[in-house]
Amino acid sequence: MAARRRDPAHAGRILSTRALTRHFGGVHAVSDVDLDVGTGERVSVIGPNGAGKSTLFNLVAGEFRPSGGRVEMFGADMTRASIQQRAHRGLARTFQTSKLFTSMTVADNLYLALCGRPGSVRRLRDARRDHERIGRARGLAERAGLGAEFGVEVGELSHGQQRQLELAMALAAQPALLMLDEPAAGLSPSERGQLTTVLRELSAGVTLLLIEHDMDIALVIGERVVVMSDGAKVLEGSPSEIRSSELVRRIYLGGTLDVR
């Protein structure tokens, strides 16, 4: 397992894009991006605002259709697959702006996250009697530090708690590939620290694709880092290579790289 993680070229690839392209009118938001993510690998995609990170994310998640190129996931061509089909195959994602079910409780949010994939869910029975899934939802809430808020409406949670719930919901279905869209956005420094800990403690079976503006988190979490600029992949390497790269320094922050 460890060997596979270190060398994605020979590992089972869970995601690969080939010449992935998307224009919006005349704007090339993403052009010719080849991205490979091996099973169990943690990859960060970084880049300044407008670099095309979010578009790339949405192309892989299925929100956007590519203008050109291919997306392969879980060993199949998923370029034209619907969002649900991707979810059923094991893709989970978070959202940049929390799109939680705000008028429902933490319990119901997690319960819904557990019932997304088809299978053993009996859709027309009383959900309050589904003790097995309610128990799992409670476990997820406790692991996310929301045990005491289990019955609380999500709209009443703090921003940090909502981000925790967001992550717990993405992990609920035990995804094969987890995509996080700027999970640190809007978090306080201490919440960022917590988030980093949570992400590092994710089980080894989870493959992680992280899109992040915040270099601290991206370089600490990612085993491999992809740098984007103006819609293209400009560099790829280990966190230490990225940290010391003059190119990154120039395109990312226009001089000083704010990395501690």
Partner: protein, 362 residues
């Protein structure tokens, strides 16, 4: 505290059940109260329930519920009165047919949202209106289908107004229970998730479109039950029963009762029925539609949550009134010290003014 509140709730529920059961036996002028108010409120409440359920749990506000009401009503009338099919077959078949029509309309309508959905469903009910008007060979056009016999079962005839009332009451209770239960299932929770965030539901693997179609179909089933019931209430069905005004009436009932609560459907229906009956009888000398309009506007302006939410709303008003009163009083006191109000904050910390203030209440 919560224990006491739970007991109060149970007590209120028991009192409501007793009132509903005793209602036909204690009211004067039963033809008016039991039939024109009671039974009419029940079938009208069931259609409004279909609208409120859909709006509350899926966020889709439909003006097309009378379409499915009409399909069920005309279905029973055409099958039984014109072709001699027994009610035991025609009623379930007509309701099933209306539900299928609901599914077909839903397949198209749920692709739109907000005001487009509203317009599309309104167009559907208008389409139904003109269809029954023009398909005169089957529906008898303007005249409609009359002489509908009321069904009999277990030796009881629905021609008896009390029997009819209890059948309507039982049906209303049954569909309400069903609608309420549906919201507690994974299906119902998914609908609420879709209402809050369809993007996330899709990302979690839900088929948002099919859930919406299923919800729309379920709501049209509820409206269809009301359609069959109302056919026997009127004893006839005409295009006039599903014109634009009737579709709007369903919306008014929902808003009047409280569009965020399933119970609002029946309370709103009772409110509108009572209002319209009294207007008709000349107690209030204004035109029925004018009166309805005025009440509707008043509810929208002052009681957004409808009658169901009235206690909360009044408490809220009282609280804000007492807050304003307190502000008014303190301003009056400040006025006596002859200071510009802008200096209040800094001054109140100072010695002289602070003492001054403390003495004032006496």
């Amino acid at each position: 505290m919560t224990w006491a509140r739970a007991n109060v709730r149970i007590l209120v529920a028991i009192l409501i059940v007793i009132a509903l059961v005793a209602f036909p036996f204690v009211v004067p002028r039963p033809q008016f109260w039991v039939v024109s108010v009671g039974i009419r409120s029940l079938w009208l409440g069931i259609v409004a329930l279909s609208l409120i359920w859909l709006s509350r749990y899926t966020g889709m506000l439909s003006l097309g519920q009378m379409t499915f009401w009409a399909v069920a009503g005309y279905g029973v009338a055409i099958m039984s009165t014109q072709n001699g099919v027994p009610y035991s077959i025609s009623i379930p078949v007509a309701i099933a047919l209306a539900t299928v029509v609901g599914a077909l309309v839903g397949l198209i309508a749920v692709r739109t949202q907000g005001v487009y959905f509203l317009m599309l469903t309104l167009a559907t009910s208008q389409l139904a209106f003109y269809l029954v008007l023009n398909a005169a060979s089957v529906t008898r056009g303007y005249v409609g289908i009359g002489n509908i016999d009321r069904p009999e079962f277990l030796g009881l005839s629905m021609s008896d107004r009390n029997v009819f009332y209890f059948v309507a009451l039982a049906l209303a209770a049954a569909v309400s229970a069903l609608a309420w239960y549906a919201t507690r299932t994974p299906f119902g929770l998914a609908l609420q998730g879709i209402r809050d965030s369809p993007e996330r539901m899709r990302a979690l693997g839900y088929n948002v479109y099919l859930h919406r179609v299923a919800a729309f179909t379920f709501a049209s089933f509820i409206a269809a039950v009301s359609g069959a019931l109302a056919l026997f209430y009127h004893g006839r069905i005409t295009p006039g029963a599903i014109d634009l005004i009737r579709s709007i009436d369903v919306l008014i009932v929902s808003v009047l009762g409280g569009i965020h609560s399933l119970a609002g459907a029946f309370i709103g229906a009772l409110g509108l029925t009572t209002l319209q009956n009294f207007a008709q009888e000349g107690y209030i000398q204004v035109r029925r539609i004018t009166l309805t309009g005025v009440v509707f506007v008043a509810v929208l302006l002052f009681f957004r949550g409808g009658i169901v939410d009235l206690p909360n709303q009044l408490r809220e008003y009282r609280r804000s009134a007492s807050r304003q009163w307190a502000r008014f009083r303190s301003r009056k006191h400040d006025g006596r010290t002859d200071r510009p109000s802008g200096a209040d904050v800094s001054d109140s910390a100072g010695g002289a003014d602070g003492r001054d203030r403390q003495q004032l209440p006496r």
